[in-house]
Amino acid sequence: MFLEWLSERGSGRWPLFVAAHDWLFNAGRSQSEGIKATWTARTFSDLGHIEIDWQGQRWSVTPSILTVLPTAGARSLLTGGRTRTLMRRLDEETNESVTDNIVFDRHHQDEGPDAIFLVSRDETDIEKLASRLGINYDYSAADSLSVALPSLDSYLAVSEATPAPTGYEVQRFDAMSLRWSTAGGDVAPGLYAYEVYGPARQRFVTQSGMSHEVERAIGIYAELRRTSTQVLKWSADDVNGALIVPGQAPLPTLQARVATACSGLAATFSKSSSTRRYVNVPRVIAERIAASLGQTLDLGRVGQNAAANA
């Protein structure tokens, strides 16, 4: 329902998103029991359904698109906006009275909106369906996007070096434990968070003392790179593999989007290991994600064997 509403609305200000979100998901829940609107927004963004301009406090839904998933048993994925008109037309176009070449179904996932998977006789059916629906088609979205991932350096190069907020509690990120703790100062190289009113602000101070105001995830990976800390793992599966990311070091938006575009599923969180798991990520794409973040992918023994066999 929420994605349908976002899709019908198209775009809007962040407070509208929060108001609708909280009305739908958090009625009758206390603050700690409730789902945070920012969490939902990030999940939807990771899945490629919406874009968020955090600075401008705006959101917009992305145009609907059909894409073939990499080595996923000939499945395709519908992502982006999902208006009711689109879904009605998808129903009509795939009705068995019209074609028996394509079927689709909704797959429930706890972490995000239902994923919509399609199975077709061949890839041309999907392309033609996209054309009939009037939406985009891309046969290798995850692969293309992974090639275009910007590097950490490029994010740091364009980040503003604004003065640090004063008078607020400062926390420092510890790359070894991946935890934040109260800091006495914010001059030494490292990643700092300021508990200002509204969204917290992060500044990354480089080895040379340059400071950069960055998004939290970018800052974390900048600090992990500065301290040569490797945290990304890839575990080979029967076909592709799972990209495993520490819960305290979530992937930046585009990297997370590439990872989810491989399966159409949001990352699943494991409480026991405190990690997020992205399934069906081809090794080459996992390596591009890691490289863009200054990480060397830990392939593990199984992964290395699989890689050698490949």
Binding site: A27, D53, T62, V68, G73, G80, G81
Partner: protein, 657 residues
């Protein structure tokens, strides 16, 4: 100052000589005749009949002080003031005279003076008839009229917004009982017999309201907020709002501060912190400051909810707790037990007392979230912490797809919120003409989940009618705002660079050169600027015995082996797929599938004509294999593919010759 009874007597002596004896049949005839003469000849002068109206108001005020508010009781004090002997009923000619005189006054104020002295608040058709004119002025004082600005704001009304008198009256009667109106005005609100007078007053004041808050003297009023800053050491303070037109700098006179309080605008909307301590005394008495025609005020209340205030960057006192949001509540100790009981019953579980923040004699409760209206009407003293959106029924939440008018997506209809304590009585509730409850006591009603069809809907709660529309869809595949934001990447030396470190930004309608825009999982940009793409994967049916993939160029042939099982992670995902992917090394023209029955099927992938190979780079054996497929197999295919298959076969025949 003159004694009030002496002043009353002096007023009576001015009026009495103008009256005729009662046996004349019209005590006020001379006054009325003079009033017409004044109106026709000398309206530039003050109305000569004002003392008569003043006596009428005085009589109404006397009546208001008694326990007996019966209408006939008005005439007794009137007769006493005017020393009219005879019966205790209406003096002869009073009815017609009052109609004329109050009418002349209204004409003079509204039309002749064009409102320059203030507009008339005299009801056109008072009830009870005739004495209602005076009652409207006596019971409902000037200060009460000014306080109506608080009522209009409590209803969340904007000037000139259409609202029925009956609706104003219903919610005023509830609001008045916890307001700071005079006792006469509150009593008037309680009694049914003054409904029409009140409705007239409310309508008149509503029509002239300019949207500003005013104090009892009619000065523009800025509210003083109690703020709570929790950073490091929790701190309570007073901060005054600065409505439009208030000076940027001024020294306001406060009783609590000798020499006044110099205030400077900290922003367009607020002055800096007031140098006054938030103590039990200031909370008990409230604050009032004035500077020329401007006033600042904090109305005391034993229960004060706080909510996060975006502009102030901290918690700030609010008029009303709203549903579902986190609040702190400051409570005077004599109300603490009552509030505690109420929170136990109504609030979500996490509320608790916050230690060492409130002044002596007061208690703070933190993390108070109340999402639902209480089952029973709570004590009126708790009205500020009973969740309500405004002081009248309103729509709250929902999933609006458009505003002006509000259109909600079907299934995302808003909730109806009806204030509980303000009304203090039950109301009939109907949705689209269907009676839902005859005695609705207030609270939250979900309008979603009722299967309302798309279209216009009307919710009726007592005198209030709320309208909204629903639509199943806006009717497009991609809405207009979709794709408005994207991540901008610059292409530099073959690598992609982020253009911003702060997430997505406005999408350029035409992607500039050397730029790629990422919208969702799509990349927008010139072909040369986009990453080089692999060939499209072929989706092959899994349960075939053999596959042959043939390219456009002779010799391009592949015989893919596909895994018998699909990847583990997709096996639990519906719909079932019997397909597998194959990444071809060349541009594919035909896919040949051998079914287990022995039949071959040809699937056309490209309508390109066959091309010869480069003999220097192509093995003759692969060309022979490629040709044999066309020459030896007789696959099933769609009729539109047959002609091209024939041309490929002819091409293969030529090659083999």
């Amino acid at each position: 100052m003159e004694d009030s009874s002496a002043a009353e007597a002096r007023l009576a002596t001015v009026v009495r000589p103008k009256l005729l004896p009662e046996p004349s049949g019209d005590v006020f005839r001379r006054v009325v005749d003079d009033s017409w003469s004044w109106r026709l000849k000398h309206p530039e002068d003050d109305p000569p009949f004002l003392p008569v109206l003043a006596v009428a108001v005085l009589a109404a005020a006397h009546m208001a002080r008694t326990e007996d508010w019966a209408a006939h009781n008005y005439y007794k004090p009137l007769r006493e003031i005017l020393r009219l002997a005879g019966s205790s009923g209406m003096p002869a000619g009073y009815d017609a005279a009052m109609q004329s005189l109050w009418g002349h006054l209204t004409w003079w104020l509204n039309d002749y003076q064009a409102g320059s002295l203030g507009l008339s608040s005299v009801p056109a058709h008072p009830s009870p008839a005739y004495i209602g004119y005076a009652l409207s002025q006596a019971l409902f004082r000037s200060s009460d009229r000014q306080r109506l600005t608080h009522f209009f704001l409590a209803l969340d009304l904007a000037p000139r917004e259409p609202i029925e008198a009956a609706e104003l009256l219903t919610y005023f009667r509830g609001w008045s009982q916890r307001s700071h109106l005079s006792s006469g005005a509150r009593e008037m609100a309680r009694r049914d017999e003054y409904k029409e007078v009140l409705a007239g007053i409310l309508t008149a004041e509503w029509n002239r309201w300019d949207g500003s808050l005013r104090d009892e003297r009619g000065r523009r009023l800025g509210q003083i907020f109690i703020t709570l800053d929790l950073y490091l050491r929790p701190k309570l303070a007073f901060v005054a709002e600065r409505p439009r037109g208030f000076p940027t700098q001024a020294t306001f006179d406060f009783e609590e501060a000798q020499g006044g309080v110099a205030l400077t605008a900290a922003s367009n909307d607020f002055y800096g912190e007031l140098p006054l301590e938030v103590s039990a005394k200031t909370l008990d008495t409230g604050l009032r400051g004035q500077y020329e025609g401007f006033a600042l005020g904090l109305t005391p209340s034993p229960v004060v909810p706080f909510r996060q205030h975006e502009a102030l960057g901290c918690w700030a006192s609010v008029r009303q707790l709203v549903p579902g949001e986190q609040h702190w509540v400051l409570v005077r100790d004599d109300h603490e037990a009552m509030v505690r009981d109420y929170l136990h019953e109504a609030a979500l579980a996490e509320w608790r007392e916050a230690q060492a923040i409130a002044p002596n004699g007061w208690t703070f409760f933190r993390d108070v979230v109340i999402d639902a209206a209480p089952h029973r009407v709570p004590n009126p003293a708790l009205s500020r912490v009973v969740p309500s959106v405004t002081a009248r029924p309103s729509l709250w939440g929902g999933l609006p797809v458009a505003s002006n008018p509000e259109i909600y997506i079907s299934g995302g209809e808003p909730d109806l919120w009806v204030p509980t304590t303000q009304v203090g009585e039950t109301l009939p509730l109907a949705i689209d003409g269907q009676l839902v409850s005859t005695d609705f006591g207030g609270g939250r009603v979900a309008l979603s989940g009722r299967g309302l069809p798309s279209g216009e809907h009307v919710v009726t709660v007592g005198p209030s009618r709320l309208r909204f529309q629903t639509a199943d869809t806006i009717g497009v595949v991609n809405s207009r705002g979709s794709g408005a934001l994207s991540h901008q990447l610059r292409l530099l030396d073959g690598r992609y660079w982020a253009s911003s470190a702060r997430g997505a930004s406005e999408t350029e309608p035409i992607t500039p050169a050397a730029t790629v825009q990422v919208v969702g999982i799509s990349l927008l940009g010139a072909r040369a600027d986009l990453p080089k793409r692999a060939r499209a994967p072929l989706l092959l049916p899994a349960r075939a015995s053999q596959y042959i993939v043939l390219g456009v160029v002779a010799g391009e042939i592949a015989q893919p082996q596909v895994p018998p099982e699909s990847p583990r992670w997709v096996r639990r995902i519906s719909p079932f797929s019997a397909g597998r992917e194959f990444l071809p090394p060349f541009d594919v023209a035909w896919v040949l599938v051998a079914w287990r029955t022995g039949e071959w099927e040809a699937r056309l992938r490209s309508d390109m004509e066959p091309r010869p190979c480069d003999p220097d780079t192509t093995k003759a054996s692969t060309v022979r294999k490629w040709c044999r497929c066309f020459l030896e197999l007789e696959p099933q295919m769609s009729p539109d593919a047959r002609q091209l298959w024939s041309r490929y076969r002819a091409f293969a025949e030529e090659l083999t010759l």
